[in-house]
């Protein structure tokens, strides 16, 4: 095999698209040719860098909103409700400050007397911690001791259940903190993973698949006979699944398809 002949085969070897015969022939050439070995290493490095760069490019939040509110894509019923700003825009400009003040009073007064969490589905309400954590608004005790995180969280729910403990080191993610949040009287255990792979939250609580938001997309994984529910809140993507009585939600800014694949690979059939 000549070096010129090896070039395209090197590309295919990197992409694992080479048949056995061509692979053997190329490997023999690579073992003898330092120039082609270098070409292989450089092309592998490039592919890794392109993949790494791609992971950081996600659709902007306003594009997601535009698609969700496009009547050519979603029906009226499933589109998000009009925001209060949209109603303000419909008013004559002079009346807008008056209406805004009146709305503020109408909202603020009952809140003052009946301060209580909004009745948002638990799966969506839980995701609030993600942004708060990243903005530094959520004080947590950081520790790299995974066992300690699991012990503390399990103790917080009286040993009723354990947080899902996933090994995500292959994705450059390690557990860095844990916290407990109570939503509508239900305790949610939150394990936080961080690293070069970004940030990932793993929520665990007792519940059922009914806890998935109604507009979540359901995916049935035939191999594991499990349902996976994909949904988003702002820029945070989330995938919910059930293992017995335990509900697990993985949340991250990583692309939904990757998060879904991760959840499917980690989930254990109950």
């Amino acid at each position: 095999m000549t070096c010129a002949e090896a070039q395209e085969l090197i590309t295919a070897l990197i992409d694992q698209e080479l048949g056995q015969a061509e692979r053997s022939s190329l490997e023999e050439h690579l073992s003898e040719c330092s120039g082609c070995r270098l070409a292989f290493e450089e092309e592998s490095a490039l592919k890794n860098k392109i993949r790494e760069a791609a992971r950081g490019i996600n659709a902007p939040g306003h594009l997601r909103s535009r698609i969700l509110s496009d009547p050519r894509i979603f029906t009226e019923k499933s589109r998000p409700a009009r925001r209060w700003q949209d109603y303000l825009r419909l008013m004559p400009p002079l009346l807008r400050p008056i209406l805004a003040f009146a709305l503020l009073l109408a909202i603020a007064l009952p809140m003052f007397y009946f301060s209580k969490p909004a009745s948002e589905p638990i799966a969506l309400a839980a995701l609030e911690t993600y942004d708060r954590f990243l903005s530094g608004d959520l004080p947590v005790h950081r520790t790299e001791n995974t066992d300690e995180i699991v012990r503390q969280l399990t103790r917080a729910v009286g040993g009723q259940f354990h947080p899902m403990g996933y090994d995500l080191t292959a994705m450059n993610l390690r557990p860095v903190a844990g916290l407990v949040r109570e939503i509508d009287g239900r305790k949610v255990l939150v394990a936080i993973y961080q690293g070069q792979g970004g940030t990932l939250f793993c929520y665990t609580f007792l519940g059922s698949e009914q806890d998935a938001p109604t507009n979540a997309a359901r995916f049935f994984e035939a191999a594991k006979k499990m349902n996976f529910y994909a949904f988003s809140r702002g820029r945070v993507n989330a995938v919910l699944h059930r293992e017995g009585e335990i509900i697990c939600i993985l949340a991250s800014a990583m692309p939904m398809e990757e998060l879904l694949a991760l959840a499917k690979s980690k989930a254990k059939p109950s």
Partner: protein
């Protein structure tokens, strides 16, 4: 009649929600195909519109990601490339927009944000300089994780063409990235 409409609406929404899972992937491809960020967003939104209109042509159980990507790719050719199918390498500066260089990272990781943004920007710049015929296979195989067969189906060309264009495209990218690629992070060949 009303019941039928309701059922069709629910079916359409379920299809749209399933397609939304691939939004980030489609945006990444569009981001590197289109001239600027506005065009990329328009391309993605129109892809969803076309996909919803043609949803009955989708075969359930087959690869929706590939199906959507093919729609996006065809839309790109129809809309932006009719008069000029491939971007020339002769005048790369003419094809570049500062928007790409200064585009804020949407979801940067908590660590190495500066380095990551720089890497992402350099890769994007390098890919934008590659003629579209060599760039598309890189986007599909390296960014979209498609196999050669899937990429060939999306681009309507033989598998051998995908392989040769990938090889050529990566070499061009290496040339453009020569100033940035960190040699220390090269992959390693294991026999």
């Amino acid at each position: 009649m009303a019941g039928e409409r309701k059922t069709e609406g629910a079916e359409r929404d379920a299809f749209a929600r399933e397609a939304m899972v691939h939004l980030d992937h489609l945006y990444r491809i569009a981001f590197h195909l289109a001239k600027d960020e506005d065009h990329a967003q328009e391309l993605v939104q129109e892809t969803f519109v076309r996909a919803l209109a043609a949803r009955h042509q989708f075969n359930p159980g087959t690869n929706m990601k590939a199906w959507l990507t093919k729609i996006l790719q065809n839309l790109f050719f129809d809309r932006y490339q009719q008069s000029k199918r491939w971007i020339s390498t002769d005048d790369p500066a003419g094809q570049e927009s500062n928007d790409w260089k200064h585009r804020p990272a949407e979801n940067p990781g908590p660590e190495s944000q500066v380095l990551f943004k720089e890497l992402s920007s350099n890769i994007t710049d390098a890919l934008k300089r590659i003629p579209e015929e060599f760039r598309a296979p890189i986007l599909l195989v390296d960014m979209g994780d498609f196999s050669y067969a899937e990429a060939a189906e999306i681009l309507a060309c033989p598998i051998g063409t995908i392989r040769s264009r990938l090889s050529r495209g990566r070499k061009l990218a290496q040339q453009y990235l020569a100033a940035y690629v960190d040699i220390e992070q090269k992959g390693s060949y294991r026999k």
